[in-house]
Subunit: 160 residues, 2 copies
C-alpha cells in the first residue's frame, strides 16, 4: 500500500470514502447533510496536509494532518482518518496512522491529539490505543449518535 | 456591568484587550505575532457570537461563543474570554462566563467545553471550577509557555 499526498484529481475517490462516513454521522462530528463540495473543502483545506492510501491504483483510505492549535500549542498534531468500508479489516487505518505519526515527527510535531473520538467507535478506540494513544479525557454525552443517542466522546493523545 | 453583543465599532476596544493577551502568549494558543486584523477576524468570526462587557461606557472584557463541533457534536458550546488587565479582580470574567452559560442555554446548547485551558493559568482554572466546570482531560506538555516552558493544557467541561 502506497500512502502519498492527495492530489486535486483524487477528489472524487476521496468523496467516495468520506461521503458515506459523513452521511452515516456515527463517527465524525460533521453535518450529515454536508455537500460534497463542503466536505472536500474541509478534508483538503489549506491548513492541513491530506494523504491517500492507494493499492493497485485504488484509493482505500484518506487522512489529514494539521496543527491542533496555533501559537504555543502548534507542536501538537491532529489527524482525521477515514477508510473505505469495503476495505475494512485490511489494516488501512493502522497503516495511515503509522504514516501520520512518522510524517508528524518529520514535521517537528511533538505529540498527536484526537479531539473527538466517538466512544461507541470501539474499533477505532482500540486501534488508537494499540498505537500508543491514551484516553486523555472523556466528554460526557458530547455526541448525538443517530442510533445510540447521546454518547461520550474521547480525547486521545500521545507523545511522538 | 452590561454584557452586550459586540458591534463592528467595538473593534478598537476589543483589540486593546485581546492584543496584550495575544502578545503575551501565556494563556491562549494563538500566534503571538498575529496582526490586529487577523486577531479581530478570529475573535469576531462569522461562526461565533462575540460579546463585550461594558461599564460606564468602557469595555473591560470580551468573549465569544460558538459550537465546539459540527453535526452530532454541535450541542456543545465553546467560549473564549479575555479581560482587560487593568480590570482584573473585578469579576469581569466571572460575569462573562455566567452570561455565556445563560446565553448558551438559550441557544439550545446542552454543555460547554473549554478545549485548551493552560494549566499554569491557575486563576482561570479555579474560576471555571467555581462555575461548575470539571477537568475532563489533561494534555501533557501541550503548551509552550514563553516563561515556564512546556506545560500541560486542560480540557474543561460542564453540562448546562
Amino acid at each position: 500500500m502506497l500512502i502519498r499526498p492527495a492530489r486535486k484529481d483524487d477528489a472524487a475517490a476521496i468523496w467516495s470514502i468520506i461521503g458515506p462516513v459523513v452521511r452515516a454521522g456515527e463517527t465524525y462530528a460533521l453535518p450529515r447533510g454536508m455537500s460534497e463540495q463542503d466536505a472536500l473543502a474541509y478534508w483538503m483545506a489549506a491548513d492541513r496536509e491530506t494523504f491517500v492510501a492507494e493499492d493497485e491504483g485504488r484509493i482505500h483510505g484518506t487522512y489529514y494532518l494539521r496543527a491542533n492549535q496555533f501559537g504555543g500549542g502548534d507542536h501538537v498534531a491532529n489527524c482525521g482518518y477515514m477508510t473505505d468500508a469495503a476495505a475494512a479489516g485490511r489494516g488501512v487505518a493502522r497503516a495511515m496512522c503509522g504514516h501520520s505519526l512518522a510524517h508528524a515527527r518529520s514535521r517537528g510535531f511533538k505529540a498527536m491529539q484526537f479531539n473527538f473520538v466517538v466512544s461507541t467507535n470501539e474499533r477505532a478506540v482500540r486501534l488508537w490505543q494499540s498505537l500508543g494513544f491514551e484516553i486523555a479525557g472523556r466528554l460526557l454525552k458530547a455526541f448525538r449518535h443517530p442510533v445510540k443517542g447521546e454518547v461520550d466522546a474521547l480525547v486521545m493523545f500521545r507523545a511522538i
